[in-house]
């Protein structure tokens, strides 16, 4: 289990590191590679020390995202459990042929002769003024790929337990770490692993369900706090993974609150938020009194702070939209 610091908490990046380390310790078939991950410890300082501990099982690679991904595939179908890092999720586009056409299909196409236990870790997300090609969330590109799990933890504790589960999973997992979360500190995970594909109700409420993933969950939680002050009781669902997609948990919550808001850091068209709302509508239309979507404008991500701030969903926008859509706080409180 991950080591807590003095305050009983753990930094997100450390949780990731410990998950890798603990699995490498447990299972000699786990290897880890990526650009500058070994000797330098990664550009986000996530993996220092692993090379020292595990030697040639932690490898610095050339700038060859496609070879890395295909190498992970080949190693995975030949008995290793590779983890590899694509430094910025934007670069995943260079490795997608291997991920999608090789790794994601192997188990099915081989008629379950062989599995493909690889994990691709990648830093995603905007909010740091890194500009249009270093800030994207790769979810729209990856979610519609049967055979590829897509996991994106919101807390350090979840990051630890979900990453360990991803490494043990017998088929490929894209493990997405939001850049803005690396420095957050959270309670350590009470468990070694969490099942992939299970959403969590991270706050109970009765008036509206806020659904998000990764950093968006934290925005929703803060928004829920503010909404509570306005008399609105918001339930918050952390999807944790976007494939498998735990629609059951969302449907159950919607059955209770009858209103749902999906909050996505990404475009509306082709994004997971509207996709999930569509599935909810198809399966639970009678439960829906109101539903809406908070996402980004349909443009690339701008650099300038004024533009990027306005571009991204945030707790203020969630609070604003929920309160205006639900009407006055007083009305809600009295059940009007």
């Amino acid at each position: 289990m991950a080591q807590a610091n003095d305050q009983g908490t753990i930094e997100y990046r450390v949780a990731v590191r410990e998950a890798i380390g603990d699995e490498m310790e447990r299972d000699p078939s786990v290897v880890f590679f990526g650009e500058d991950v070994a000797i330098a410890g990664g550009v986000f300082a996530v993996t220092p020390g692993l090379h020292e501990r595990f030697g040639e099982r932690v490898i610095d690679t050339p700038i060859s995202e496609l070879a890395m991904s295909a190498g992970a595939f080949g190693a995975a179908v030949n008995g290793l459990r590779p983890i590899f890092e694509i430094m910025f999720a934007d670069f995943l586009l260079l490795s997608m042929d291997s991920l999608v056409n090789q790794a994601a299909k192997y188990w099915y196409v081989s008629n379950e002769q062989g599995s493909c236990p690889l994990v691709v870790r990648s830093a995603m997300g905007a909010g740091g003024n890194f500009g249009a090609m270093h800030s994207q969330s790769p979810v729209p590109w990856l979610q519609g790929v049967p055979g590829l799990k897509v996991v994106a933890p919101a807390t350090a504790g979840d990051a630890y337990a979900l990453l360990r589960a991803a490494i043990r999973d017998d088929n490929p997992v894209a493990f997405l770490e939001h850049k803005r979360l690396y420095s957050v500190k959270d309670p350590v995970s009470p468990v070694d692993t969490l099942p992939l594909g299970e959403a969590a109700v991270v706050r109970e409420g009765t008036d509206v369900t806020l659904v998000s993933i990764s950093k968006g969950v934290r925005d929703c939680l803060r928004a829920a706090d503010e909404l509570a002050e306005k008399g609105v009781s918001a339930e918050v669902v952390d999807l944790r993974s976007l494939r498998p997609l735990d629609t059951e948990t969302v449907l159950r919550s919607v059955a209770k609150t009858n209103r749902v808001v999906m909050v996505e850091e990404g475009p509306l068209i082709g994004g997971w938020a509207a996709n999930l709302l569509g599935i909810v509508a198809a399966e639970g239309l009678h439960d829906l009194d109101d539903a809406w979507l908070i996402a980004c404008p349909e443009t690339p991500i701008p650099y300038s702070p004024t533009l990027e701030d306005a571009f991204l969903p945030n707790e203020g926008r969630i609070v604003g939209e929920v309160s205006s859509r639900l009407g006055l706080a007083a009305e809600i409180a009295t059940g009007a």
Binding site: V31, E56, R57, I59, T61, P62, S64, L66, A67, M68, S69, A70, G71, A72, F73, G74, A75, A76, V77, N78, G79, L80, P82, D97, S98, N101, Q102, K105, Y106, W107, Y108, V109, S110, N111, Q113, G114, P146, G147, K149, D170, N171, P244
Partner: protein
């Protein structure tokens, strides 16, 4: 008594029995491909196929030098790679026929066969995929210290593709036990390879300091020698080896092929150097095996394929009801 032939690569010498097996395997591939073609025309094989006819000596020569534990990544032109490695032709045919008894239960089809038990980690429908996959498989062998090698088959046209460059470099940097086998049949689909390729393919691995050799890809004995050396290099821990087998495809690129691109007379010249003709000649000259014995093999193989088709056509199609489960 069978004499061993002269051979420089360790293990390349073989006796008459083994030599006959080489021939049989090449014939098996040829007849298999002819049969696939017929079954395609009858509507029993679906989608598309890319036949290996004419290139048999390359796959058979290389795979005959592999040992238990070695891994192979083939291409969409992979029936030959599969049979050369020892995949059961019945399972392969059944896969083409889309039957539940196929190597992949009918899920894969011609281009994407996997047969883990034979060491066939996969056939790759996407050009270059075999190179990246074999490189990764070799990483696994190296880290496990098995002494096994991984072989990637691919074509000349594939040398212009991203996987080629990135994987060769990484394999050499990490000194991985992988053998890159470029089957140079002079064409990328319908385009002469020189029209789309700058410089000689062999210069590319050499620019990275990768062990390189070129060989007559229609002479199975020559391929064995060269493959033996390449495999030995990779197995020794000295890093990857690159083998270019010069060969020619006797059939269309895939089932639909205008075929107008071939230079006049080119096919005729190559047909004289049919790997089966060269094989028969070598068996006669080196081992004194008579033509009738080889005709017998041909007949046995023909019979074998007839039975395979019969059994394949009698096998059930997969039941959609029990397929299509979500990924575990």
């Amino acid at each position: 008594m069978a004499e061993k032939t002269q051979a420089t690569a360790p293990g390349a010498e073989i006796d008459a029995v083994e030599a006959r097996d080489l021939y049989r395997r090449m014939r098996l591939i040829r007849t298999f491909e002819d049969t696939v073609q017929q079954q395609f025309q009858k509507g029993n094989v679906h989608g598309t196929t890319h036949l290996y006819s004419g290139q048999e000596a390359s796959g058979v020569g290389v795979c005959s030098m592999l040992r238990e534990g070695d891994k192979v990544a083939g291409t969409y032109r992979g029936h030959g790679h599969s049979i050369a490695l020892g995949v059961d032709p019945q399972k392969l045919m059944d896969e083409m026929l889309g039957r539940v008894t196929g190597a992949c239960g009918g899920r894969a089809g011609s281009m994407n066969v996997v047969d883990v038990a034979s060491g066939l980690i996969g056939c790759f429908g996407i050009v270059g995929g075999s190179i990246g996959a074999a490189t990764g498989a070799a990483l696994a062998e190296k880290l496990r210290g098995t002494g096994n090698v991984a072989v990637a088959f691919f074509g000349d046209g594939t040398s212009n593709q991203a996987y080629f460059h990135e994987s060769l470099n990484w394999a050499q940097v990490e000194k991985l036990p992988v053998v890159f086998v470029c089957e140079n049949n002079l064409y990328m689909e319908f385009t002469p390879i020189e029209d789309v390729t700058a410089g000689a393919i062999g210069s590319r691995p050499q620019a990275m300091g990768i062990d390189y050799r070129q060989v007559d890809g229609n002479d199975v004995f020559a391929v064995r020698e060269a493959a033996g050396e390449a495999i030995e290099h990779a197995r020794s821990g000295a890093g990857p080896a690159f083998l270019e087998t010069m060969t020619y495809r006797f059939v269309g690129h895939s089932r639909s092929d205008p075929g107008k691109y071939r230079k006049p007379g080119e096919m005729d010249e190559w047909k004289k150097r049919d790997p089966l003709i060269l094989g028969r000649r070598a068996l006669e000259e080196r081992y004194g095996i008579e033509a009738e014995r080889l005709d017998e093999i041909d007949a046995e193989v023909a019979k074998q394929l007839e039975e395979i088709v019969e059994r394949g056509l009698a096998a059930p199609f997969p039941d959609p009801g029990s397929d299509g489960k979500e990924f575990k």
